[in-house]
Symmetry: C2
Subunit: 405 residues, 2 copies
């Protein structure tokens, strides 16, 4: 085991966290040799030897002493360029870029094999919660039934402000922005995309199947309205933005990201504020629940550090489940029970419900509860963006037992 | 990767669970070649080919085709004999025997190195929760501060009956016995020994230090009394049997098993019934919480299966932290704040409290709350077994923040 010499791309909050954590971790046997940033002239708070910094990618990629590249930049396209260049040269990479990974995983898996280089990315999903590593190593058998959780801290923080602290959605969003939990353009978080990308990565390691983002139903919390919050409160539930992948039969699985009504008997009900929580369900072990900080400088940095240490011991993902002969196939031919609140848009006639079980109409807003195929939701996805519409999941379709627990 | 041919020792609930799980797991590439039981003539429910069974250990240990021994027998001494014989012959072993492991880990670690054989035992601690593997692999740096949890399902089940379902302690114990959650002699569980053994194993993987059972303060829930339950309820707390290991300074750590008053703001408050829950705290990732079924036939079997699969990929514990140069040293020179309820035994004068902060006397029972050295509790350990005494932890000593969360 040699000392790891790191070339770090990106010195934002996570990059600075890694620098800080590595200085603290006396037994890490890893040092940062060079840091590539976009703007080298920017003033930096950290006591950084100026010689560490560069704005030329080649200073890292061409340095034969650097044996691990850690990539924590925001831009997915730039990250893709760095990661693929490194892998092609046989240099190992640790990345936290979920958007890049979710879009390019099949190619990146292939490149790892072809160029005999390892790519680790546990930090990309749920920050400090070791979901990927556990799915890859521990829940390494075909008894896994479901992975379901709150994977996005920003949207969860906003929903917590609403449900636990009585703020309006607008107040909560402002609040989250002020605390740095939401970007100035929060679509990535509250639109469900961040959770979707994590779910795609998780599914590769849970079931050995890659599904491209555009094939998956994704619906965020942008359109949530006082009426939805009131409805949830009346039923003593909270609305959470939930990502899930689940087997629906021996040979098929489905996955989606959408708001869900969650009652207090479920584990994820108590995942509040910026925390993430993941429930892993298997045939034998029943439910495992993992809970922790999903984002932030130091939790993400400590997850990156775990990946760095894993490389020191030559750990790599083996993607064993992708080699299984009887992998389940992705399906959207699944019936969901949903709540759909609407104003002027005539949801009951525009959405092809198989069955409507409840309808409510009032002056301010209306809702319908009914059964609908996931494939029909996907087909009508654009309709659901209308600002007078909000839908949320009420399904319990994967088993007779209360599966969402 | 070859098919694993297993020699199984023990065919009780866990052994039968393994048989069942392996039949279900199509991609396990592992088969049971022989099962060694104590009484071969005993009628068995499972549809077992009779040729699988033997009562001679040599039929497994001498079989050159068997490349993995799975040991799930009750008897710690017999388990020790089987495991050491196998390791000496270079045969890999998966074991769930916490009593055996907690007593013999240093020797067993040494034997793994000397004979180049692997011993895996994730099932020994918290059943289906992958605590060991995560401490060994993921929390693999010196930023770990504390591991704390409910490690024994039986005692937790009893306490849940008391606190959540209003049963008396006697009713709850009967209840647990009827459901098979407690042995006919429940001392192992309710006396804290089972939790202690798990804590010892966890500490080896958390901090790289082995501490022998007799050096660790262990106090169970046998003496819990209506007055203690009332006291906890008045403070809106539950009493939980908690095992913890924590760094108390840069260079020292302490560990113990004892009942603790736990408020609703803490993660382990909601770990009820036969479940286990573990909080792992680090400097950067803050708190991680893992929750799941800690015992039972199938959860334990599925954990054993994970170890079997790990061997298929040549995984072994590397005990990296034991090689760290600046490992913290075990100390009992730590001040705890405890609640001590007593009847006729004069606890305030018999126990060397450094400071008493509260005293309460009544006709029925009395209690004192005060600060005492852990080493003094150990020195007076026998006194605390008196049936009119019950103590529980109230400390928050590891940091200024609420560390037990």
């Amino acid at each position: 085991m040699n000392t790891i010499k790191i070339g770090l791309f990106g010195f934002g909050t996570v990059g600075q966290g890694i620098y800080h954590v590595l200085k603290q971790a006396k037994n890490a046997h890893a040092t940062i040799k060079r840091i590539c940033v976009r703007d080298i002239s920017k003033p930096r708070a950290t006591d950084l030897p100026p010689s560490l910094l560069t704005d030329r990618q080649e200073d890292i990629l061409d340095d034969p002493e650097i044996n691990l590249i850690v990539e924590v930049i925001d831009n997915a396209d730039a990250a893709y360029g760095i990661v693929t260049t490194a892998l092609r040269r046989g240099i190992d990479v640790v990345s936290g870029n979920k958007a890049m990974l979710a879009r390019h995983l099949p190619e990146l898996i292939d490149m790892q094999r072809r160029y005999n280089a390892a790519l680790l990315y546990d930090a990309s999903s749920c920050g400090s919660i070791p979901v990927i590593r556990n799915l890859e190593e521990y829940y390494d058998n075909d008894l896994l039934l479901e992975v379901k959780g709150i994977l996005n801290g920003s949207s969860n923080y906003i929903l917590s402000c609403v449900f636990d602290h009585g703020e309006t959605y607008g107040q909560a969003l402002d609040h989250a922005r002020r605390l740095g939990f939401a970007e100035s353009d929060p679509t990535f978080d509250i639109g469900g995309w961040d959770a979707l990308f994590k779910l795609i990565i998780i599914t590769v390691h849970a079931l050995g199947e890659y599904v491209a983002p555009e094939r998956i139903f994704t619906y965020g919390i942008q359109n949530i309205h006082e009426a939805d919050i009131r409805y949830a409160r009346e039923k003593r539930m909270k609305i959470k933005l939930v990502a899930q992948v689940a087997k629906v039969s021996e040979s098929a699985f489905t996955m989606f990201v959408m708001p869900e009504f969650v009652g207090p008997e479920k584990y994820i009900y108590s995942v509040d504020d910026e925390y993430n929580g993941v429930v892993i369900r298997g045939e034998c072990y029943d439910r495992q629940f993992m809970f922790g900080k999903g984002a932030g400088s130091l939790p993400t940095a400590s997850s990156i550090l775990s990946d760095i240490m894993a490389r020191r011991h030559n750990y790599r993902y083996e993607y064993k489940k992708m080699a299984y002969l009887d992998r389940p196939a992705y399906t959207t031919d699944v019936t969901l029970r949903i709540y759909a609140r609407y104003g002027t848009t005539d949801i009951p006639s525009l959405l092809p419900f198989k069955k409507i079980t409840e309808m409510y109409m009032s002056e301010g807003s209306n809702y319908v509860i009914g059964d609908i195929l996931l494939s029909d939701l996907i087909a009508h996805r654009r309709l659901l963006d209308a600002s007078d519409i909000f839908i949320a999941n009420l399904s319990r379709f994967f088993s007779d037992r209360d599966i969402s627990h």
